[in-house]
């Protein structure tokens, strides 16, 4: 068979009830019974087959004055949901109504019959209540555990580093860093922080760049301040951790707090996404949505910042280090905004700003070292002055706050658009 017949075959009547109903109808006609419950068709027919009335003519039925009304009643669901006459025509044909049937309703063809039905149904429809569409929120909870993983692994690594010495120390360091990075990667590929359309080639290009810059920024939070302080003082003499009295101090508290903050970040992103979707359903227009989404974004952002501050304080107390509030909170804000934008498909701006921030920090470090070259002392002056006056944390604070503010402005414009919250896959 060529299979072409299938292409033009009107869809079969939906569901098994179609033929049950039909056969039941016919049974009702022959048996003279008005109401035969569905499912008893077979027995009714068998009774009729043995009934002693071989040549009885079927009783005429459907003698209503308005045949179209009866037809509309039979296809009322079709008439109610149709958006134009052609939809009714297609539906009628799928139920076996042909042009010849249409002549019984005093119409030339199915199209004009469908037009009458559409015109008559449209009046009733005015008052029909509109079904409220509530997009069901999918309850996937596996990402909650995943977001806790980086923090846990990071804490374990820090504990192991405190407890081990010598070769075991190096092994713990390597294993811990690797595990934390892998866990972070896993946490960012699932759940609310994952990009919605990560398959796009453009976003892939940006995301690898963003990932490298993020690593650099976190590494600076860990080592940068100590290095800058040592450099300003004329060092560094040894690698961090090589000796107990090394001038190059390592700040573990900010990094631990940042890794622990993965969980609140994911929760805040989830909160934002869910409430934005709810607003999407209830808002009347695009402007309306934008106006109502802006407080949501700012609220989620503030929530994350306070959670990060609390984590920082706890980490500082536990590790006995000074919690570098300013630089860590601004870095956290920058990373959260970059991730939120990436997750909603805006990969361009985060990649640029993360890159710019990382470059600025690298430049600051480089100028200090470049200042040691003969005749280039002026290069180091601005950074040294700032570090001397307000401490070495000034550089990352300044850089990250500028970048985070820029991203915040960008996010309040892009993330509050309705198109940023479009559901990914919809049925045709």
């Amino acid at each position: 068979m060529s299979g072409l017949g299938e292409l033009d075959r009107p869809g079969a009547p939906g569901g098994a009830e179609a033929w049950d109903e039909r056969s039941g109808e016919w049974v009702a006609e022959v048996g003279g019974a008005d109401a035969v419950p569905e499912g008893t068709a077979v027995s009714a027919v068998s009774e009729q087959a043995h009934a002693p009335a071989p040549n009885r003519r079927p009783t005429p039925r459907r003698t209503a004055a308005d045949p179209v009304k009866a037809l509309m009643h039979r296809h009322r669901e079709l008439c109610e949901r149709a958006v134009d006459p052609l939809e009714i025509a297609a539906g009628l044909e799928a139920h076996g109504v042909t042009d010849r049937t249409a002549t019984r309703f005093r119409h030339r063809d199915v199209f004009s019959l469908a037009e009458e039905m559409y015109a008559r149904a449209a009046h009733d429809e005015e008052t029909a209540p509109r079904p409220t569409t509530l997009t069901p929120t999918r309850a996937h909870t596996s990402w909650i555990l995943l977001t806790l993983l980086p923090g846990t692994l990071c804490a374990a690594t820090v504990a192991a580093l405190r407890l081990t010495h010598g070769q075991a120390h190096a092994i713990a360091l390597a294993v811990g860093v690797l595990a934390a990075v892998l866990a972070l990667r896993a946490a960012l590929t699932r759940g609310p922080l994952a990009p919605t359309n990560g398959t796009l080639p453009g976003s892939a290009r940006h995301s690898s760049g963003s990932r490298a810059w993020t690593c650099w920024l976190v590494a600076y939070a860990l080592l940068g301040d100590g290095l800058l302080e040592a450099a300003v003082a004329g060092g560094p003499d040894a690698l961090p951790g090589a000796s107990a009295d090394s001038s190059w101090a390592v700040a573990t508290a900010p990094v631990l707090a940042l890794s622990l903050a993965c969980a609140p970040a994911a929760w805040c992103a989830h909160l934002f996404a869910v409430s934005a979707r709810r607003r999407l359903d209830t808002s009347r227009g695009l402007e309306d949505f934008t106006a109502s989404a802006r407080p949501l974004l700012l609220g989620a952002f503030a929530l994350f910042l306070s959670a990060l501050s609390a984590l920082l304080a706890v980490c500082g107390v536990v590790l006995g280090e000074s919690p570098a509030y300013a630089q860590t909170v601004t870095l956290g804000a920058l990373l959260l905004l970059a991730r939120l934008l990436t997750a909603h498909g805006f990969t361009h701006a985060p990649a640029i700003l993360l890159g710019a921030a990382a470059a600025a920090e690298a430049t600051a470090l480089a100028t200090v070292f470049a200042g040691r070259l003969p005749g280039c002392g002026f290069l180091a002056t601005p950074v040294e002055t700032a570090a001397d006056t307000w401490g070495p944390g000034t550089v990352p604070t300044l850089v990250c706050s500028v970048a985070a503010l820029t991203l915040l402005v960008h996010a309040t414009r892009t993330l509050t658009r309705a198109s940023a919250h479009a559901p990914v896959d919809q049925p045709c």
């Binding site: 017949g5 033009d8 075959r9 098994a16 016919w26 027919v45 134009d84 006459p85 539906g91």
Partner: protein
Amino acid sequence: MRIGLLTEGGYPYVSGDARLWCDRLVRGLGQHEFEVYALSRSERQEAEGWIPLPSQVDRVITAPLWTAEDDGVHYGRRARRRFAECYGELAAALCTGRPGDPAAPGEAPAAEADRFGNALYGLAELARDEGGLVGALRSETAVRALERACRAPGALRDAREARVPDLLAVAAHLERALRPLSLDWYEDDGLGSVDLCHATSGGPAALPGLLARHFHGVPLLVTEYGVRLRTHYLAATDAPPAVRALLAAFHGRLAAETYERAAVITPGNAHARRWQERCGADRTKLRTVYPGMDASRFAEVGESAESADADTLVWVGRIEPAKDLVSLLHAFAEIRKEEPKTRLRIVGAPADPEGTAYLGHCKALAAQLFPDEAEGPHSVGDNPVSFEEIGGPELPTLADAYAAGAVTVLSSVVEGFPISLVEAMFCGRATVSTDVGAVVEVIGGTGLVVPPRNPRALGEACLALLRDPERRERLGAAARARALELFTVEQNTTAFHGIYLEIVSHTPVRRLVLDDTGEPLPFAVPAEAHVPGRWTGPAARVVARGGPAWAAGAPVRAGSAMPATHATPATEGAR
């Protein structure tokens, strides 16, 4: 001649629609070169691979419709404004009254009808110049344009009620539907190099053909065995009315634009033809080309003298509720009252769980209506109704199934193109069918037709044939002759061959002839090769491409650039 065969979810994929027809067409027209441009419908379809292709298929170019490739292009200010203008026009065209609206019969002005086309080609030109259309179609600009169009005065009632999620859904659907605009098929070495685009279905497959016509003036032939717009309506979704209204408007306008621009449209039967006419296709462009079937399988049965059991009725087909076997069984009960020796063989298998359930239902009904019967008191009885499948020892082939009966019955309540009826006609069997789908058109006067859902009429018609062997034979011979005339593969192929030649003779592609250094060769095409104006009477709607605008008959597109064709210098020379 180079034919660009445009398919969507069909040839050459193993699981494609109508692949057999395309394959026969391509193999049957070996004198032409074919380039297949295939849009795949799903990842699974792509993974299943292609069917073997004959040597006349030069190349196959595929693109996925199920996934979008964002090329990461960000529009500048000017491109963004251009996009917003085109998309706004498109949205406005969708939101205002629909073409063929009964409320405004025939008064849709040409400019209004052209609005959709202009917007479509504007977007295509933008995609060709700048790229990045996928991202733009998903952007806030697009959603805003939709919202503005929906809130504008004079918008459809359903569209006015569109809320934000509806707008997003419509934008996503439009992005999906307009994916063919971003393809790189419209270059000079792609669709620009073919003489004729043959779209094997309407809708997305015809979209590349429309663009090839717009960019290069390649004539378009549209074949629709199933009307795409109707398929869209039947694929019922639970989307809100606003979404369905806007999408129906889009598909309706796309169909209208396709029919308007196509040089020739070939519906597969009168039903498809009616829909196409309804959607604005010009009658003069329509040529019904019936699907072809392989007649050789049935030759032996059809040519042999009737040897079948004269008391047997046969029903062949796929078992499903739309075939209304219940009605057939009741009709058979009527027949048995008059002719107790009659038997009914139902040959076929269910295709889905619903069909299986229906088969069980029918078997139960048959067992209750007709008790088993035996020859005498000492022999084992049998039911007069048998349910069989092809491939068993009794019925090894399809032709045997038809040969087994004197009369073939078709009892469907819903039918497209009734293939089993055509097969019965090839076998030279007298038929009784219900008046559904294309049955009357197929059978002509060579069989009996009764109303659907009327078992009494069906039974009486069968009885009439069972009692009259001569009439049976006469009808069977006529049916076979008619089928051989209309429904063979050769007929189909020949018809398309003729249509190809007809189109190309009306719209020859004139290429600029280049010399060895790549410079245009002047006077390579003599001026006499092109006769401006109409060759035939005013009825001819297909006008030589590249001819003067006044000859084109169609309204001149407002605000759109003249299509850039290679033919321009040659045309200038001709003038």
